[in-house]
Symmetry: C2
Protein backbone atom coordinates (compact mmCIF):
# COMPACT_ATOMS: atom_id res chain seq x y z
CA UNK A 1 0.00 0.00 0.00
CA UNK A 2 1.46 3.31 -1.05
CA UNK A 3 1.63 5.79 1.84
CA UNK A 4 -1.00 8.12 0.49
CA UNK A 5 -4.35 9.51 1.54
CA UNK A 6 -6.13 10.29 -1.73
CA UNK A 7 -9.25 11.94 -0.33
CA UNK A 8 -10.58 13.01 3.03
CA UNK A 9 -14.36 12.99 2.98
CA UNK A 10 -16.28 14.79 5.67
CA UNK A 11 -19.93 14.20 6.39
CA UNK A 12 -21.81 17.50 6.58
CA UNK A 13 -25.23 18.42 7.99
CA UNK A 14 -26.00 21.37 5.69
CA UNK A 15 -24.42 20.67 2.34
CA UNK A 16 -24.90 24.11 0.76
CA UNK A 17 -23.63 25.90 3.82
CA UNK A 18 -20.51 23.75 3.95
CA UNK A 19 -19.89 23.97 0.23
CA UNK A 20 -20.07 27.74 0.44
CA UNK A 21 -17.76 27.77 3.45
CA UNK A 22 -15.02 25.79 1.72
CA UNK A 23 -15.43 27.32 -1.71
CA UNK A 24 -16.08 30.98 -0.88
CA UNK A 25 -14.70 31.22 2.63
CA UNK A 26 -11.54 29.19 2.26
CA UNK A 27 -11.29 29.57 -1.49
CA UNK A 28 -10.87 25.92 -2.43
CA UNK A 29 -11.57 25.09 -6.11
CA UNK A 30 -14.36 22.62 -6.75
CA UNK A 31 -13.84 19.78 -9.24
CA UNK A 32 -16.60 19.09 -11.79
CA UNK A 33 -19.26 20.41 -9.48
CA UNK A 34 -22.71 20.98 -10.97
CA UNK A 35 -25.58 22.76 -9.25
CA UNK A 36 -27.83 20.27 -7.55
CA UNK A 37 -25.08 17.74 -6.88
CA UNK A 38 -25.19 16.43 -3.33
CA UNK A 39 -21.45 15.79 -3.34
CA UNK A 40 -18.52 18.11 -3.89
CA UNK A 41 -14.83 17.46 -4.41
CA UNK A 42 -12.17 20.11 -4.03
CA UNK A 43 -9.06 19.74 -6.18
CA UNK A 44 -6.32 20.27 -3.61
CA UNK A 45 -2.59 20.07 -3.60
CA UNK A 46 -2.01 16.61 -2.11
CA UNK A 47 -5.04 14.94 -0.55
CA UNK A 48 -8.36 16.18 -1.91
CA UNK A 49 -11.21 17.26 0.30
CA UNK A 50 -14.69 15.96 -0.34
CA UNK A 51 -18.07 16.89 1.15
CA UNK A 52 -21.03 14.55 1.41
CA UNK A 53 -24.19 14.63 3.54
CA UNK A 54 -23.36 12.94 6.82
CA UNK A 55 -26.13 10.34 6.63
CA UNK A 56 -25.19 9.41 3.07
CA UNK A 57 -21.52 9.11 3.94
CA UNK A 58 -22.37 6.82 6.84
CA UNK A 59 -24.64 4.77 4.58
CA UNK A 60 -21.95 4.56 1.90
CA UNK A 61 -19.60 3.05 4.45
CA UNK A 62 -22.27 0.93 6.06
CA UNK A 63 -21.75 2.70 9.40
CA UNK A 64 -24.35 4.16 11.78
CA UNK A 65 -24.58 7.96 11.43
CA UNK A 66 -25.68 8.73 14.99
CA UNK A 67 -22.30 9.77 16.24
CA UNK A 68 -21.45 6.61 18.14
CA UNK A 69 -18.85 4.80 16.10
CA UNK A 70 -18.87 7.25 13.23
CA UNK A 71 -16.53 10.21 13.41
CA UNK A 72 -18.01 11.82 10.33
CA UNK A 73 -14.70 11.58 8.47
CA UNK A 74 -13.42 8.93 6.08
CA UNK A 75 -10.02 8.53 4.44
CA UNK A 76 -9.84 7.20 0.93
CA UNK A 77 -6.90 5.36 -0.60
CA UNK A 78 -7.46 5.06 -4.32
CA UNK A 79 -6.05 2.30 -6.51
CA UNK A 80 -6.05 1.76 -10.25
CA UNK A 81 -8.42 -1.20 -10.71
CA UNK A 82 -11.14 -3.31 -9.10
CA UNK A 83 -8.68 -6.16 -8.79
CA UNK A 84 -6.36 -3.97 -6.74
CA UNK A 85 -9.22 -3.10 -4.41
CA UNK A 86 -9.80 -6.82 -3.84
CA UNK A 87 -6.12 -7.61 -3.35
CA UNK A 88 -5.35 -4.71 -1.04
CA UNK A 89 -8.45 -5.26 1.06
CA UNK A 90 -7.53 -8.91 1.59
CA UNK A 91 -3.98 -7.94 2.43
CA UNK A 92 -5.02 -5.30 4.97
CA UNK A 93 -7.56 -7.51 6.68
CA UNK A 94 -4.77 -10.04 7.02
CA UNK A 95 -2.66 -7.32 8.59
CA UNK A 96 -5.24 -6.57 11.26
CA UNK A 97 -7.65 -4.06 9.71
CA UNK A 98 -11.28 -4.58 10.69
CA UNK A 99 -13.53 -5.29 7.71
CA UNK A 100 -16.53 -2.96 7.47
CA UNK A 101 -17.71 -3.36 3.87
CA UNK A 102 -16.38 -6.04 1.56
CA UNK A 103 -15.27 -5.08 -1.97
CA UNK A 104 -18.27 -4.27 -4.15
CA UNK A 105 -19.66 -1.88 -6.72
CA UNK A 106 -20.26 1.56 -5.21
CA UNK A 107 -23.42 3.60 -5.68
CA UNK A 108 -21.35 6.41 -7.21
CA UNK A 109 -20.13 4.24 -10.08
CA UNK A 110 -16.82 2.99 -8.78
CA UNK A 111 -15.79 -0.04 -6.78
CA UNK A 112 -14.78 0.04 -3.15
CA UNK A 113 -14.39 -1.52 0.26
CA UNK A 114 -14.13 -0.12 3.78
CA UNK A 115 -12.06 -1.10 6.78
CA UNK A 116 -11.72 0.44 10.23
CA UNK A 117 -8.56 1.31 12.12
CA UNK A 118 -8.21 0.52 15.85
CA UNK A 119 -10.29 3.57 16.81
CA UNK A 120 -12.99 2.92 14.27
CA UNK A 121 -11.84 5.59 11.80
CA UNK A 122 -13.00 4.46 8.40
CA UNK A 123 -10.78 3.99 5.37
CA UNK A 124 -12.16 3.37 1.92
CA UNK A 125 -10.14 1.46 -0.65
CA UNK A 126 -11.53 2.74 -3.93
CA UNK A 127 -11.27 2.36 -7.65
CA UNK A 128 -12.63 5.50 -9.26
CA UNK A 129 -12.95 5.19 -13.06
CA UNK A 130 -13.70 8.92 -13.42
CA UNK A 131 -10.95 10.71 -11.52
CA UNK A 132 -7.47 9.29 -11.04
CA UNK A 133 -6.15 10.12 -7.58
CA UNK A 134 -3.91 7.09 -7.21
Amino acid sequence: MKAKISIICIGVRDFEKSRSFYRDGLGFPTHNYMMGDDHAMFAMEGAWLSLYPRDKLAADAGAPSDGAGFSGVTFAHNVSSKERVDLLFTELIGAGAKPIKSPQDAAWGGYHAYFADPDGYLWEIAYNPFTDLT
Copy 2:
Protein backbone atom coordinates in the same frame (compact mmCIF):
# COMPACT_ATOMS: atom_id res chain seq x y z
CA MET B 1 -5.11 30.31 1.54
CA LYS B 2 -3.50 27.66 -0.65
CA ALA B 3 -5.84 24.71 -1.26
CA LYS B 4 -3.85 22.23 0.76
CA ILE B 5 -4.34 19.98 3.75
CA SER B 6 -0.89 19.58 5.23
CA ILE B 7 -1.67 17.06 7.95
CA ILE B 8 -4.63 15.03 9.12
CA CYS B 9 -4.31 14.27 12.81
CA ILE B 10 -6.43 11.57 14.36
CA GLY B 11 -7.01 11.23 18.07
CA VAL B 12 -6.36 7.66 19.19
CA ARG B 13 -7.30 5.78 22.36
CA ASP B 14 -4.40 3.31 22.42
CA PHE B 15 -1.38 5.02 20.93
CA GLU B 16 0.91 1.97 20.63
CA LYS B 17 -1.80 -0.14 19.08
CA SER B 18 -2.60 2.53 16.51
CA ARG B 19 1.03 3.28 15.76
CA SER B 20 1.63 -0.41 15.11
CA PHE B 21 -1.47 -0.62 12.93
CA TYR B 22 -0.40 2.20 10.65
CA ARG B 23 3.30 1.41 10.62
CA ASP B 24 3.28 -2.38 10.48
CA GLY B 25 -0.20 -3.10 9.17
CA LEU B 26 -0.49 -0.43 6.51
CA GLY B 27 3.25 0.06 6.09
CA PHE B 28 3.38 3.83 6.46
CA PRO B 29 6.85 5.29 7.21
CA THR B 30 7.17 7.22 10.47
CA HIS B 31 8.97 10.57 10.50
CA ASN B 32 11.50 11.22 13.29
CA TYR B 33 9.72 8.89 15.66
CA MET B 34 11.53 7.97 18.85
CA MET B 35 10.44 5.29 21.31
CA GLY B 36 8.43 6.86 24.08
CA ASP B 37 7.05 9.68 21.98
CA ASP B 38 3.33 10.14 22.46
CA HIS B 39 2.95 11.52 18.96
CA ALA B 40 3.75 10.03 15.58
CA MET B 41 3.85 11.53 12.12
CA PHE B 42 3.85 9.47 8.95
CA ALA B 43 5.64 10.91 5.93
CA MET B 44 3.06 10.42 3.22
CA GLU B 45 2.73 11.40 -0.39
CA GLY B 46 0.54 14.50 -0.16
CA ALA B 47 -1.13 15.12 3.19
CA TRP B 48 0.68 13.54 6.13
CA LEU B 49 -1.04 11.43 8.74
CA SER B 50 -0.44 12.10 12.39
CA LEU B 51 -1.45 10.19 15.55
CA TYR B 52 -1.97 11.75 18.94
CA PRO B 53 -3.82 10.56 22.05
CA ARG B 54 -7.43 11.64 21.69
CA ASP B 55 -7.58 13.58 24.96
CA LYS B 56 -4.37 15.44 24.15
CA LEU B 57 -5.52 16.31 20.66
CA ALA B 58 -8.77 17.69 22.06
CA ALA B 59 -6.82 19.66 24.65
CA ASP B 60 -4.45 21.00 22.00
CA ALA B 61 -7.42 22.35 20.09
CA GLY B 62 -9.22 23.49 23.21
CA ALA B 63 -12.16 21.19 22.41
CA PRO B 64 -14.01 18.74 24.69
CA SER B 65 -12.87 15.15 24.06
CA ASP B 66 -16.10 13.43 25.04
CA GLY B 67 -17.37 12.81 21.57
CA ALA B 68 -19.93 15.62 21.47
CA GLY B 69 -18.48 18.33 19.27
CA PHE B 70 -15.17 16.61 18.71
CA SER B 71 -14.92 14.23 15.79
CA GLY B 72 -11.46 13.06 16.81
CA VAL B 73 -9.94 14.36 13.59
CA THR B 74 -8.23 17.68 12.85
CA PHE B 75 -6.97 19.11 9.58
CA ALA B 76 -3.82 21.19 9.60
CA HIS B 77 -2.94 23.87 7.08
CA ASN B 78 0.67 24.86 7.58
CA VAL B 79 2.14 28.25 6.77
CA SER B 80 5.68 29.59 6.79
CA SER B 81 5.69 32.02 9.73
CA LYS B 82 3.89 33.12 12.88
CA GLU B 83 2.81 36.28 11.11
CA ARG B 84 1.11 34.24 8.42
CA VAL B 85 -0.79 32.32 11.09
CA ASP B 86 -2.08 35.62 12.47
CA LEU B 87 -2.98 37.00 9.07
CA LEU B 88 -4.68 33.90 7.74
CA PHE B 89 -6.62 33.34 10.94
CA THR B 90 -7.96 36.89 10.85
CA GLU B 91 -8.83 36.51 7.19
CA LEU B 92 -10.69 33.23 7.69
CA ILE B 93 -12.63 34.43 10.70
CA GLY B 94 -13.69 37.35 8.56
CA ALA B 95 -14.81 34.85 5.93
CA GLY B 96 -17.08 33.02 8.36
CA ALA B 97 -14.86 30.47 10.12
CA LYS B 98 -15.69 30.00 13.81
CA PRO B 99 -12.76 30.88 16.08
CA ILE B 100 -11.83 28.07 18.49
CA LYS B 101 -8.32 29.00 19.65
CA SER B 102 -6.71 32.32 18.88
CA PRO B 103 -3.14 32.42 17.48
CA GLN B 104 -0.63 31.48 20.17
CA ASP B 105 2.46 29.48 20.93
CA ALA B 106 1.74 25.75 20.81
CA ALA B 107 2.85 23.24 23.45
CA TRP B 108 4.78 21.33 20.77
CA GLY B 109 7.04 24.27 19.99
CA GLY B 110 5.28 25.86 17.08
CA TYR B 111 2.63 28.55 16.77
CA HIS B 112 -0.96 27.89 15.86
CA ALA B 113 -4.66 28.72 15.91
CA TYR B 114 -7.81 26.68 15.43
CA PHE B 115 -11.09 27.37 13.72
CA ALA B 116 -14.17 25.23 13.14
CA ASP B 117 -16.05 24.64 9.91
CA PRO B 118 -19.89 24.68 9.85
CA ASP B 119 -20.05 21.11 11.24
CA GLY B 120 -17.51 21.73 13.95
CA TYR B 121 -14.62 19.95 12.18
CA LEU B 122 -11.45 21.54 13.46
CA TRP B 123 -8.77 23.10 11.32
CA GLU B 124 -5.42 24.15 12.71
CA ILE B 125 -3.45 26.95 11.08
CA ALA B 126 0.10 26.15 12.08
CA TYR B 127 3.64 27.37 11.82
CA ASN B 128 5.97 24.45 12.42
CA PRO B 129 9.63 25.48 12.70
CA PHE B 130 10.82 21.85 12.60
CA THR B 131 9.12 20.30 9.59
CA ASP B 132 8.10 22.27 6.51
CA LEU B 133 4.82 21.01 5.14
CA THR B 134 3.66 24.27 3.61
